[in-house]
């Protein structure tokens, strides 16, 4: 059984008890425990079920590489599925439940799948479920979807109560990994005075070394680590962070760090996670190495663990996995586990070493001297047991698995060698080389990730660079730190003394990809490569046999390495199995791509503060608060919220809109038009530039005058419109649509910067500098005169003129322009005066029953006048000629954006649909987006079309539906009746083609 030992456990505080529950059962652990170590201390070996066969799963590792021990953490709003027990720090009141089983962890009906494993090999679903066709959708797929997935999905209503934040760091050297190599690299870099950031994913410094032992400069490794951290802490140029994982390396020295601030202390204040967005000149990856499992039958049974993990649980947490542990290995390092266990008073019945030693290397000799039985040339034929290890059948590694003897045990500590963690190195293009001696991939320093200057920006250090021996790792880390600091422009401290470490020499390892090497199908079918996804040696061999020969094909066909651990344990073993099956060398087969993040990171952390309402900032005009207070019904327009209308108590939106139109047309209305884009275009070439941007001639506009302009894309399509005012000889102010301000400004800059970079023009988007208020209706002039301060008479401020001055003491610019056909002024005041000016208009205008109006009223009034609206009449495929706007296209100009495009054959095709007005015979409102049908049918036997509705409203002035639309030969078909199809696809509505100007066609209302 697994249990807490009486002594040892360097990371736990035995004086502090921590209560927690697992599947509702109450347990106790110690401060410093991980959930995994605490469960193991309570003999809870079984922690989950595998993905496909629902095999019992216990913990296999002790860190981020763990594929098995995944649990649901917390409940309700703090529920987090797929939490790794090995990296979950224990806290008081922690609640965990196991995943992917029914009805219980111990008895899972889904485990029946393993009985049929033979019939469910890799990719079986591509070959089955083809017939009968409806079965896939209705039976097979729903079943698969239900069975798949691991953790419980959150409830729909769940709202995460925690906050997340982003942190921006700019450093010279970033060191990822706080083991001895990371500490040494940071010391070397830090001593140069450069700005250094050192991050470590766990809660403690030193990595594996305190567990593995060894001496540095004559001190215990632990003492050296304490001193190194102390030395770094006093360096003002060095920042250290634990619980902060290097998540990904991106182009140009951009690195993502993932700091877990309160996962271990949920009651604490502050954000739960912090995403570090690090800009660094150089990165040193000191990310260590991960031990590999061995592929033998039954290597997935709970109790079979990595040898290093077995050692970790004893040394770090004072937990023994079993009373009797068989060690199986192809290298010396696993002997440390045997010796550690022995020292802790536990039994090690045998070490199965696939190698045969002529001269025992130091660790082997030490094990033998300690009385441990070492069986050389031996391996495991299969593990005996179901939910727990009961024993192992020992066989010769060279054979086919004939049992030599059976050894009773309750734990198997396996070691297939080590793989450097090369993920961060590889994220941004760093290449690897295959190291034959150690049978692993390590970074190829000659092919490092390069930055914008073409020079390397990542260096790797220590075990992550393939140096497994402590002293080699230290020397390498110093050298990596030096390379990084020099590349970052620093100068290494002269005469720096590099610490020297002592530790036993180790003999060469022997690669073992299958145990025993002649294992038959029955054994290979139970030799797991990917524990979580249930991929076995036989699956990879099947993929190779079927021609899925690329490592990417094998991965995708078998799902090897696609689990939540992304193959940290399984990829190299799977790759070697594939290369053996193909008869190719491992480096020829290559690896799959390493992708960020290193381990999964919370979506909350990536989103940061961008949540709910502040996901993207809402833009508000200076008068927004007034609108809110006065009951505006808002609609989103671009990133703005604009009042759609202002319903009074008990009034429907429709009624409010009708009232607003009538009131404005009959007396006086007020519109907050501040959202309209305002772009200043200034400079000696401003006129010439605007002549290119607009279809109209702008350079001839006189200061003091306004002109309505159309802007087309290079392809000729109408993209925006608005009134241009010439402020002075060199300055224009261009109004754009509400949604268009930013991209029109970008469009202008695009042309200025890329094509006409030598033109003397400057642009500035001043949209938010002004509040702009439209005063509209027969009493508009009365109101402005009552405010006083500016002559706005017909002669002093004629239609399409503007002037500066004061209104009621507020600096104001008045444009006499009209989008409604009414007498109308748009008054721009500094944004800070917006509310005051609005209030004055409301007060003084009360005598004319002034009414604020919203966007829908604006739309109706413009439609009554036949004015087009960008986004309604246009959709990116419409040219001004389609809309009868030829009058706004200069014939004199040699060129403007879109001119050539509009001369192309399809643009001049007489059959293009053209703008007309539409009046229904029954006065109803035509449905928006409805199509006019035509004789004949298309290839799908549907009715042909000859036009469509672009704008449609009920006009309160005409007391009927009015619409605009694009119709085939429309302008030539005045008076003709055509039929529009309703949404139901059947009902037709008859409408007469008319002029699009429905109201005051002579324009008398504004001509006063």
């Amino acid at each position: 059984m697994s249990t807490r030992l009486a002594t040892s456990g360097r990371l736990i505080d035995r004086s502090k008890q921590v209560a927690f529950t697992f599947n509702g059962k109450r347990f106790t652990g110690h401060a410093g425990d991980t959930l995994a170590s605490a469960l193991l201390a309570n003999d809870q070996m079984l922690m989950g079920r595998s993905f496909k066969y629902h095999r019992p799963r216990g913990v296999v590792a002790s860190g981020a590489e763990e594929p098995n021990a995944l649990v649901n953490l917390g409940e309700g709003v703090t529920h987090e599925p797929n939490a790794r027990a090995t990296t979950t720090e224990l806290f008081e009141g922690l609640k965990a439940t196991s995943q992917n089983h029914w009805p219980s962890l111990e008895f899972d009906v889904g485990a029946i799948n393993q009985k049929f494993a033979r019939f469910l090999p890799a990719g079986f679903y591509y070959k089955m479920f083809i017939h009968p066709r409806p079965f896939w959708k209705h039976i097979y797929e729903p079943f698969i979807r239900h069975s798949a997935g691991l953790g419980k999905a959150p409830d729909a209503e769940t709202r995460d109560p925690d906050t997340y934040e982003h942190f921006y760091a700019h450093v010279d050297v970033l060191v990822v990994g706080g083991g001895v190599a990371g500490l040494q690299a940071a010391l070397t870099a830090g001593q140069s005075g450069l700005k250094v950031l050192l991050i470590e994913q766990t809660a403690f410094w030193g990595g594996r070394t305190p567990v593995d032992g060894g001496e540095i400069d004559g001190k215990s490794a632990e003492d050296w680590i304490t001193e190194a951290v102390a030395a770094l802490e006093v360096m003002p140029n060095v920042t250290l962070r634990t619980r902060c994982m290097g998540s990904g390396v991106y182009d140009h020295g951009y690195v993502l760090g993932y700091e877990r601030l309160t996962d271990h202390a949920p009651e604490a204040d502050g954000p739960r996670h912090r995403l570090w967005r690090i800009r660094t000149k150089q990165v040193v990856t000191a990310t260590g190495a991960i031990e590999r499992p061995l592929s033998f039958s039954g290597n997935d049974i709970p109790g079979v663990m990595l040898a290093s993990a077995v050692r970790d649980y004893v040394v770090d947490y004072g937990v023994s996995i079993g009373d009797r542990t068989v060690v199986v290995t192809n290298n010396d390092d696993a002997y440390r586990t045997a010796l550690t266990l022995k020292k802790a008073g536990l039994s090690v019945p045998a070490i199965l070493d696939v190698r045969v030693h002529v001269h025992a290397p130091p660790l082997v000799a030490e094990a033998k001297a300690a009385g441990i039985r070492v069986l050389e040339g031996m391996g495991i034929a299969k593990v005996v047991g179901g939910q727990r290890v009961k024993g192992v059948a020992v066989c010769s590694q060279a054979g086919e698995g004939a049992m030599v003897e059976e050894i009773a045990c309750d734990c198997v500590a396996m070691s297939g060698g080590w793989s450097p963690v090369v993920h961060l190195w590889s994220h941004c293009g760093g290449k690897l080389l295959w190291d034959e001696e150690h049978a692993f991939f390590r970074p190829d320093a000659s092919r490092a990730p390069t930055g914008a200057d073409g020079l390397p920006f990542v260096t790797t250090a220590g075990t992550a660079n393939g140096h497994l021996h402590l002293n080699d790792a230290l020397q390498d880390a110093h050298s990596a730190g030096k390379i990084a600091l020099e590349r970052a422009g620093g100068k290494a401290e002269a005469g720096a003394v590099v610490p020297q470490a002592q530790g036993p020499d180790e003999a060469a390892m022997t690669p073992v990809w299958l145990m025993p090497q002649g294992a038959g199908y029955e054994l290979k079918m139970k030799a797991w490569l990917d524990y979580q996804n249930d991929v076995k040696v036989s699956d990879v061999q099947l993929a190779a046999r079927e021609g899925y020969e690329s490592v990417e094909h094998t991965k995708r066909y078998t799902t090897l390495g696609m689990a939540t651990d992304q193959g940290k344990l399984s990829n190299i073993n799977g790759l070697a199995t594939l290369s053996n099956a193909l008869g190719e060398a491992i480096p020829q087969v290559g690896t799959t791509t390493f992708r960020p993040p290193y381990t999964p990171i919370s979506m909350g952390a990536i989103a940061g503060e961008a949540r709910g309402e502040i996901f993207q900032p809402i833009r508000k005009t200076p008068i927004h608060a007034w609108h809110e207070k006065n009951g505006a019904a808002f609609e989103p327009v671009g990133h703005w919220r604009r009042p759609y209308c202002f319903p009074k108590d008990g009034e429907s939106k429709h009624d409010a809109v009708m009232r607003e139109v009538k009131n404005t047309r009959e007396s006086l209305g007020l519109l907050d038009a501040s959202t309209l884009g305002k772009i200043i275009v200034k400079g000696p070439d401003a006129g010439r530039f605007l002549d290119m941007m607009y279809t109209n001639m702008m350079s001839t506009l006189k200061p003091g005058k306004c002109r309505y302009g159309l802007m087309c894309s290079e392809n000729g399509f109408l993209m925006d419109d608005g009134v241009v005012a010439r402020i002075d000889e060199d300055t224009f102010l261009c109004h754009t649509t509400t949604g268009g301000a930013e991209h029109i400004h970008g469009h202008m800059e695009d042309w200025l910067q890329c094509e006409w970079w030598d033109w003397k023009v400057y642009t500035a988007n001043v949209t938010e500098e002004y509040a702009q208020i439209a005063v509209v209706g027969p009493h508009a002039r009365d109101l402005l005169e009552a405010l006083g301060g500016m002559d706005v008479s017909k002669d002093a401020l004629a239609f399409m003129e503007w002037k500066d001055g004061e209104l009621a003491g507020i600096p104001a610019r008045a444009y006499r322009i009209s989008f409604s056909g009414e007498l109308s002024y748009e008054i721009a005041v500094p944004a800070s005066f917006g509310q005051a000016f609005w209030d004055l208009c409301m007060q003084v205008g009360a005598q004319w029953n002034i009414t604020p109006y919203g966007t829908e009223c604006l739309h109706i009034m413009r439609a009554e006048k036949g004015f087009i609206m960008i986004g309604d009449e246009t959709d990116g495929t419409v040219i001004p000629q389609d809309l009868g706007l030829n009058w706004a296209i200069s014939k004199k100009k040699e060129d403007f954006l879109g001119k050539r495009a509009q001369e192309r054959s399809h643009m001049t095709d007489p059959t293009r649909w053209k703008l007309v007005g539409l009046l229904t015979e029954d006065k109803s409102v035509l449905p928006d987006g409805a199509y006019a049908i035509k004789d004949g049918r298309n290839a799908n036997n549907q009715r042909n079309t000859q036009g469509r509705v672009t704008s449609t409203y009920h006009s309160p002035m005409l007391e009927r539906g009015i619409a605009m639309g694009l119709v085939l030969d429309g302008p030539e078909r005045m008076g003709e009746i055509i039929h529009f199809m309703k949404d139901d696809g059947e009902t037709l509505v008859a409408a007469k083609i008319v002029s699009p100007v429905f109201y005051d066609p002579e324009g008398e209302k504004q001509n006063v």
């Binding site: 896939w136 199908y521 690329s550 919370s602 990536i606 609609e635 054959s905 399809h906 449905p927 799908n940």
Partner: protein, 418 residues
Amino acid sequence: MTHYSAFSVFRHALRGNKTWGRAWRDPEPKASYDVVIVGGGGHGLATAYYLAKEHGITNVAVIEKGWLGGGNTGRNTTIVRSNYMMPGNTMFYERSMKLWENLSQDLNYNVMISQRGQYNLCHSPGQMDAARRRGNVMRANGIDAELFDRAEVRRRLPYLDYTENARFPIHGAIYQSRAGTARHDAVAWGFARGADRRGVDILQQREVTGYLWEGGRIVGVQTNRGDIRAGKVGLCVAGHSGHLARMAGLRLPIETHSLQAFVTEPYKPLVDTVISFGAAHFYISQSDKGGLVLGGDLDMYNSYAQRGGLPIVEHTLASAKALMPSVSRLKLLRHWAGVMDMSMDGSPFIAKTPVDGLYLNGGWCYGGFKATPASGWCFAHTIARDAPHADNAEFTLNRFERGYQIDEKGMGPKPNAH
């Protein structure tokens, strides 16, 4: 070659799964083929498949510089739909949808076509109007489309944010019930196996480095492993279209951009459909394996690198949380990018090129995966008959000369439009 069925799975299992043959051969190339397709992704393999199946042209090679299905076919968000409204697009994508619906049976390979529907959310009255119009066009073309109001969307997708102060309030949605997803790798493998069965040679790990010319006509390709002659050469190389066309002296109206995709850890079913969040350019579905599959916008700089930058990572994940607040504590497992062949109007090309003997299939922008079967079907037709089918008649290279942009997005054509 084994016919796939539950029975064959059972039969081979009894023999220890040792008797399965190759899904496709690894042949030595012939000196010459009637047609050489460059690019062993979904489109290239589908083209070869339909050349053989529909036109009896079996002396065909597909040449792939890496491993088949390793480009955008193997790195997209697997969405299949036909909710198009521009003439020129509608019939083409609907043909694709119809081919999808029977593809598993046609190929005898389960491509896991999963018609769980697709919602395009609308966030303003204006977007609802636009959706209504789109629905009208779709239905007029015999494509299914339904318009839902806010209450109906809420009933169907209860896990979205319906709070009053949601940043982009949900006004409704347009829904295509026949849309959904398919298993992207299986599409490449299924077409590869189907083409191979009909005699097509699939040549992997062979990079085209140039063309063979005779009298101004292309008569084959040069590769890093020798020349191969061909009666006709078809390009299906997506993000590398510009590169391969330049070798033939052509300059295409295509730019290459990288587009990222994201997958979370696997969870029990949460999203049973495909949802597009138009306001923030974001879409989400959940794979059969349980991972939430997320997509967003282009990185907006030209690149051949199959990786993206942080701004889009952040934007996409923030969009996910804004739309579905409950995902906050779920975890991102992996993200990557593909290189997109962005055309100038968002619509593709399936056409003869001005160079004799050279045919182009490209410009797929974001939408290549869903087009795969029809793209292959129409390209095969174009190559075999030397003339386009009616369904791809508008996907010509000269449409820009004529001003006939097929701009589905309705924002004006530009290279990063879709």
